[in-house]
Structures are given as C-alpha cells and as structure tokens.
Amino acid sequence: MIVEIGHFALVLSLAVAMVQSVLPIIGARKGDERLMETGAIAATGGFVLIGISFAALMSSYVTSDFSVLNVAENSNSLQPLLYKFTSTWGNHEGSMLLWVLILAFFGSLVALFGRDLPATLKANVLSVQAWILTAFLLFILLTSNPFERLDPAPMEGQDLNPILQDIGLAIHPPMLYLGYVGFSIAFSFAIAALIDGRIDAAWARWVRPWTLIAWIFLTLGIAMGSYWAYYELGWGGWWFWDPVENASFMPWLAGTALLHSALVMEKRSALKIWTILLAILTFSLSLLGTFLVRSGVLTSVHAFATDPTRGVFILCILCLFIGGALFLFALRAPSLAGGGLFAPISREGALVFNNLFLTTAAATVLVGTLYPLVLEVVAGQKISVGAPFFDLTFGPLMVPLLFAVPFGPLLGWKRGDLLGAAQRLYFAAGCALAALVGVLAFTGGTRVLTAFGFALAFWLLAGSLTDLFLRAAFLKVGWRTGLSRLLGLPSSAFGATLAHFGLGVTLLGIVSVSSFQQELITSMAPGKTAEIAGYTLSFDRIDQRPGPNFDAQAATFTVRQGGVEMTKIETSKRFFPVRQMTTTESGIWTHWFSQLYLSLGDPSPDLQTIVVRIWWKPFVTLIWIGTVFMGLGGVFSLADRRLRVGAPTRSRRKAAGRDAALGAGA
C-alpha cells in the first residue's frame, strides 16, 4: 500500500510539474499575478509529493519489502540499518528519484526565499525549473520506475553492491547531487532572463547565492567521493581521472568560472553575455554527467544498470535542454547591452583570465572524457584515455591560473596596477622561493618539478593571505587596530581568501603525495616485519571475523617507530556470500597530516603468506582539508550581507563599500 502511495505521489507530482511548466510563464507574459503565483504553490507542492514518494521507497527498503523489484535487487534483510536507508539511492531508480527530489527541493527554495525577486522573473524561473523536472519525472516513470512490484516476492534480496556498503554512500551522493542539481537554478535564471530579454547587475546578485550553494556542495561532494574511493578501493589513489569522476569535475570547473564571472557582472555589470552562457554550460555539463553516469555508456561502479532505452531517453533530454538553451541564447544574446569597460590589467581582467583558463581546462577534460566514446562510434576503435593524458593537458593549464590567483584580489576594478600588486606579493614570493630552495636542498637538487610544485603551493598559501593582511593594514596601524579592522572586513573578503588558501592547501597535499609517497608491496607471514618511511610494521596475526552479511579476514599490524609502539592497524578482506564478492577494507593510520595506508592482496596457495601493500602518504589529508577550506570560503561569501537579497538598502551598501575602499586605501 505504501509503495502504491509512493508511485501515485510521483505521478501526481508529474501532473503538478506540467502545470508549473505552463501557467507561471503565461502569467509572466500576460502580467497576470494570480497565474504567476501558481508557480510557488506548485513548486512547494511538487516537492512535498516527491518527498512522499521518496519516503515511501525508503520505507520499503527499511522494512525489506522484497515484493518491490528494486528492493529485492538491491537490498538484503541482513544489512545493517544504515545501509538499508542508503540502499534507497544505491541503485539506478532510487538515485534518479533522489535527483528529482533535490531538483524539486531547489525549486521550492526559490519559491520560498525568492520573495524579493521581480514577480515575472520568479515565475519564469519556476517554469523553467518545472520543464527540467517534467523531463526527469517522465524519464523515471517511463523507463526507471522504482516502485515496480515483483510477484511472487522472493524470501531474500540480492544485497547492495558491497563496495557501496559504506558510510560514504550516506554522504557522497546526496552532497554531490545538491551540487550537480543546484546548478539548475543558475540555468533556470539564465533562461528566464533570456526569455525576458532583460538582464542587469541585480540578476547576478540573485543568481550568485544559488550558484555558491551548489558550488559548496559540489566541492565537498567531489572531495568526499575522492576520499571514499581512496579508502574503499584499496588502490591508494585519490583521483583516477575516471570518466565518472570527470563527469562531476567538469561542472565544478565551469561552476567555479561562473562564480567568478558573476562577480564581475554584479560589480561592474560587464561580461553579461558570457555569464549567461556559463550558467547554461555549467548545468549542461551537469546533465552530460548524468547522462554519462546513468546511461550505461561507461562501465563503472556508478553505472547500475545498462538499459539502452534509458541512455537514449537521457540523451534526448540532454539535446533538448542544451540545444534549446543555446538556441535561445543565440537568438537573444546580441540584444543584451554590454556593460562597463575595463583595462586588461584590472580585477575584471584577472577574472576573465580565470574564466579563460577554467573553461579551457574544462574543455580539455571534456575532450579526454568524450573522445573514446566518439572514436568508438565513428571509427570503431577502442581506446582509453587515462591519467597520462590529463597530466599532460590539465596540469599545464592549471599552472598559469594558480600562479595568477594571488594577483587577482590585489588588482583594482577597472584599471589595476600590476607592478603595485607584484610589490605587495614580495612576502609570498619569498615564501615560494624558500620552499623552492628548501625542497631542492632536501632532495639534493634532483627534484626540480617537485620543488616548483611546492613553491607554487606556498605562493598560493601566502599570496591568498596577503590580501586580508594588507586590508587590515597590520603593518601601518599595529596589531590591535589591525585586528579590529580585520574583523570589520566584509565576510566575502574572508570567503575569497579562505577558498584560495584551500586551493593552496590541496595543491600542497597533491604535490607532497605525488612526489614523496613510498610504496612497498611484499609477501608477509604473521610474525614478519616490514620497514617503510622510518616505521617498522610487524604482522601480528590474521583471523576470521564474521560480520552481519559478510565474512571478514582481518590482519592486525603493529606500527613502531624507533622501537616505540605508535599504533595498531587493522586491514581486512570481506567476502559477501550473497553477491559472491570480495571487498578490501584498507587500514589507515593518520599521523598528523600524513597517513600510513595498508591493504591486503591474495594469500599464497599454501595460505602461509599474504601479499600486503603498504604506503606512506605524506600530507595526503591536506588534499581533502583544502577542499573543506574552499567550502568554508563559500559559506563566508554566502554570509556576506550584500548577497542577502533585500537585506541591505542601497545607501547602506554604498556606505559599506566606501568603508571598505577607505580601508583598502589607508
């Protein structure tokens, strides 16, 4: 019964979405306020309906109702309760339901918090949002119905894919979707503005918070996925340039560019056309990612089911929305008036530089991801494009961008002083030089590239702090006054600094791990020891441990440094009888920012020894800690009063801007 209610609620939400697709936009055309208001009601109602539907599916997972095909295929009564919850989206149908749930969630947020938006813009946005919702609800109901019944119901379910039986499944997909799907708001705003044919700086101020929210979640979602793959797969890598990873990384790159260009549009009302295009492209890349991941053109842990009709359906949605949006863009863009002028060396120029490199980098990732698919269709040749390709293309494009990051905030709007900015970066340059010399000395001059990597990371770290330091004017007014000035700075200043600082932290982790990690693969028997990076690991024992729905073989190691016991590490292999699958549970010991990482291989035929893979990963956690800084930066920018629509009055905002200007000039 609950299942049928869920199904019915989903069908009903489709009807509501169809109404929402049409009425508000007609209202906006005719200036009919009552029609426009239907948008907000429908958006909220639609969200509630999809929520009911999602809750129904979740309840059949929690109660292990195997008369539902989806539950029978992806769950098992022996699974721990947490995984019964998360199994809901650990499969194709459920994850698509989560996708539309989040889409509807964002729509209802616009309906609730968009009170200060012009009524026509809000109505148009909600209608465009409903078009996307309608398309994906149709997709679910026609090709991927999660509520399909199974008769007769089996006694036991087929279990969730063991790789997904992890706390990561509870966090990674919802976060990633909040990011991915959140960009739909920027898209809807762009389309709504194009339909209206009107666009100004206020538009950017309305769009930016939504983009920021999506960006924060996408940043953390990607980082979370990366850490999950790192500890779950037992391969010790944190990024594989797998097409599925690229699918989430491309919208991130485009979304980052969008955040920066919207800044120019908001402050100087320039780059309007480009910002609109970026908003369209960012969500298009999200849609492309959904297609790549969900259509089954790629084989990966994310491709749950491969049904060709699904792929074709999503491809149609993709073409319709991207094609339609770009067509509308081509039609309307020329009529949008250009904004303020600026010199190439200026804050705007720096942000254009940022956009140029980020979008080009996104394009190279796109080429690397799609080229094998295209080549297979066109020439029938099968190739794989892996890490070497991206190291050669993406890497070089990032270097100038990262080098330029500290300059951006130091350049003035309209016309900047590059020499002046460079002079203010003396300290950062000193840090970079010290890192360069230090690493060269430490490695005996053999690792020039590594040294430059460290120098770039320290340049970013020190350079991003420079802006705040100078704006607080510590050197001129002393620490006490400086500190109070620092606290008085707008929170967006902290946002930019934190995000750029986080970028430096991540880079430091990447450079450190890729240059100084140590790896040891050895065959060990209990009682034997191995040495790595100054640590002695002794293999204590290996024993059988039954789990709820698996049997584990757990090996225990003791780590000693200079004879002193530091910790014990446990690593295991789990065998899941239902799916006849083995997974590796890596054993990780975090020591400050570095990690000792262990995973088990195969036992020898006589079962006397087992292959053990040991890594020393110096400063590896900085990779993910940096992304937390970036996310925090996003939160600080979001908290800036300037973005709270309607909160600051014009005069107060101007006064605040004047204070900041005085502060910077003093």
Partner: protein, 165 residues
Amino acid sequence: MTRKAKRLYSIGAMLVVVGGALGLVLTALSSSVAYFQSPTDLVNNAPGPAQRIRLGGLVEDGSVKRDDGSSHITFRVTDTVDSVPVSYTGILPDLFREGQGVIAEGTLGPDRVFAADTVLAKHDENYMPKEVVDDLKARGLWEDGKGLVKKPQETVSATQVGAGS
C-alpha cells in the same frame, strides 16, 4: 581603451590559450592513449614497444603463477583463439579469477611477454569488461544472454561468465 580594442585583446588572449590547450590535447592524444587489443590482435600484429595497449580477454585457466615471497605474478590472457603471457607486479584486484574477464594495461615487450602496470577486473561477479564482450561478440565467440559460445577450458561454464552483457 575602446570597446573594439578590448575585444581584440580578449579574442587574442583566448586564441593563445585555446590554441595552446589544443596543442597539448593533440600531443597527449598521440602519445598517452592506450588502444584496446585482443590477444589475437597482439599475436598477429605486434605493436611497437612504446605503444600503450589495453589487453582484454579472459584469464586462462591454470595459467596464474605467483612467485614465492614476492608479488610478481604471471598469467595468460586468452580470447579462446590466441593467448598472450602477461607479467605483473603488484596486488591483483579482488575479482581477478581464472576464467574471468580482465583488462591489463601496459606494453608488449620484445620477448612477446606483455608487461602490465595495471590490471583491472571490476565490481561484481558477473562483470565482463565491456570492451572484451564487444570484441568477442564481433567475432562470434559470444552471444547475449548465453556468454561464451566456445569455451576456452572445460571448467569455465557459461553461467560463470555470462549475464554480464
């Protein structure tokens, strides 16, 4: 600066960056891309030692040999017609088994032994790498729903490797 000059500047900068990126992409595509080959392809048409290859097929039964006390492993990859010896040092993926689909990435040595630096065999008990299935299908060695038409060894039953397509 006039609007026109500004536009020229930005177009110029764009051309430089995009051109540079295009150059990088083309070089990378010609040097760092791995081509998928079946054992038959490799036997009939040996590529140069610099060419990266993704060798896909089934792990031949009884061919997996581990050196004692090290993690060096040799096995043969077969497509039921020809087979190629592979040598690999490291930990094999959890689902690496004899008679199962596998992809090995690396280069073909002058001694005709394939030196793999990566071995992939992923994710679930029915998993056959898509490339391997497509290749076997194209040569009539595989049918949807049935699996292998001609068994490489008696012990590999169609149910073990089937249903992956």
